[in-house]
């Protein structure tokens, strides 16, 4: 079933690049404002990029409350893994708009896929997160909002990623 919202690739790219800028700039509250109230943000376990969070172990499966808690934590001084904060740079490419897999999105949603390479610098180390984003973007009062966001990693493990996902991917 095709999804309903008419979104050009350029519009999708603009949205993803603005979003990446907010995340790289640690403007996490502004980023959170891009999410719907029923947002889902998820990172499957490495080795199981197509898993379901209802039946398999993930790394992250946040609803709005959990995501708010994650951001509150990251902005506090007590997120020790990110204090001092890491610096990141997100390279986002291969953006495609359209039905993704069995996408069953609503009339006001568009499915967007993209490739990412997030590089994290801290303690003079460089950590890599490489994978694929799958989004459902929804039009809310004429504004694009994130209803569902999955960051699926390509690596076999987090051994090249500093052993953790302490940032928003």
């Amino acid at each position: 079933m095709a999804v309903g919202l008419d979104l050009s690739r350029a519009e999708a790219e603009d949205f993803l690049y603005d979003e990446a800028d907010l995340l790289d700039g640690w403007d996490l509250e502004a980023w959170l404002a891009l999410c719907t109230d029923d947002v889902v943000y998820e990172v499957p376990a490495t080795g199981l990029p197509d898993g379901s969070p209802a039946t398999s172990l993930f790394l992250i499966h946040d609803d709005r409350f959990m995501l708010e808690s994650r951001i509150k934590r990251l902005l506090s001084r007590n997120a020790h893994a990110e204090n001092p904060r890491s610096r990141t740079r997100r390279l986002i490419t291969n953006v495609r708009v359209g039905p993704a897999g069995d996408g069953d999105g609503a009339a006001d949603e568009a499915a967007v896929r993209a490739s990412f390479h997030v590089i994290r610098f801290r303690d003079d180390a460089m950590h890599h997160y490489v994978g694929r984003y799958s989004y459902r973007l929804r039009s809310v009062d004429g504004q694009l909002r994130i209803a569902h966001r999955r960051a699926a990693l390509d690596a076999d493990s987090l051994r090249h990623s500093g052993g953790k996902v302490s940032i928003l991917l």
Binding site: A45, T46, T55, K164
Partner: protein, 445 residues
Amino acid sequence: MEQPFIVDDPSTDTFRINRRAMVDPEVLAAERANIFDRTWLYLGHESEVAQPGDYVSRTVGGRALVLCRDHDGTVRVWLNTCTHRGATVCRETKGHGRFLTCFYHAWSFDLAGNLTTLPDAEAYGPGFDKAALALKAPPRVDTYRGFVFVSYNPAVIPLVDHLAGARDYLDLVCEQSDTTMAILPGTQEYSIEANWKLLVENSIDGYHAMSTHATYMDYLITAMRKAAEALGEKLAPPSLDGHAHDLGNGHAVIEYTAPWARPTARWAGPLDPALREPLAARRAELAERYGEERARRICETSRNLFIFPNLIVNDIMAVTVRAFEPVTPGLMHVRAWELAPVGEPAALHEVRLDNFLTFLGPGGLATPDDVEALECCQRGFTSWRELPWSDISRGMAQERPGITDELQMRVFWRRWNQMIGGDPAAAGGGEGETPVRLHAVGGGR
């Protein structure tokens, strides 16, 4: 003048660890020879190979292994190496099939280990003994309640004796299910740039909960307050309360009450209030089956269980099984899985999965800070020559040490010290082998 690795003096309530144990490649070599090559090591869980033909491969104690279920349904463990010229016969981390085939010369083995086919077999002549070229198993393989262990020491004591007092705590974890517990799909596969023994300490350390995990506690209290307000109830002040226990053979546990929800079976925020009733009903069923006191422990108490030397089973807001493998003195590989009752109702099962992720794993609100803490310790150990001692004496003067004391770590370290010294009796035998002798650190180095 030589210094020991451990100072253990009850007369002054002193317990100190020499930090050389965390940084010296010689110590790691001795650990491999005297601990990892001599005692039981956790490999995996039978449920990971639930169907005949299932296999997984992983490295344990430095050896590449295959865990599989053969076509008769028997769980088997093989050294992942072709008996011909040595290549691994399994190159996937997980799979399903009838044969393990070495691609190098196409020798093919069934999952029961038999060498079934090889190209041009007739060239080997009449003395060729195919049966002798079957896949080889580690010297000892045994299971307890689905947990599969291996030992590279043929003379190791029986697994059931090795587990000692830890058996009862594994039983408590497994009694959450009326049938059996299973590892769910998905592995949290990560690494920590720190000595493996730091993860042993950290995984059973109640003292760090409030400081290291302040942001998790903040999340938890916020969630509980929201739930209490929605129900028009007053939030009970959250606390962690319980005791540490020595389970023998280096195993230890902390068992305690905690504010968080437990899918079997303790309701608390952020769980949906609609789940209160089903969780109470589940607890009543367990009380019927095991009696009130046992049901209280199964449902109400959390436990962080360490099984010497490489297994953690933390039955807290969900159950994680965590195994680790030293790579260098300053690097370990970690694998974590989720263990859950088979056949749990879907609504409860989903809650279990989400509750796990609030705290546990490298994307949770807590584990990344543990990784950071351990890596900070390892960095601090660079000055081990100038500041050689870490203190693990907390609670030594207590009659019944609590969970914020350090008895459980002393239990580990005493066993470590006994085995690292090359005491053959410590692994339960192994006659005829010469243990590696490790010289204690010279003073003033």
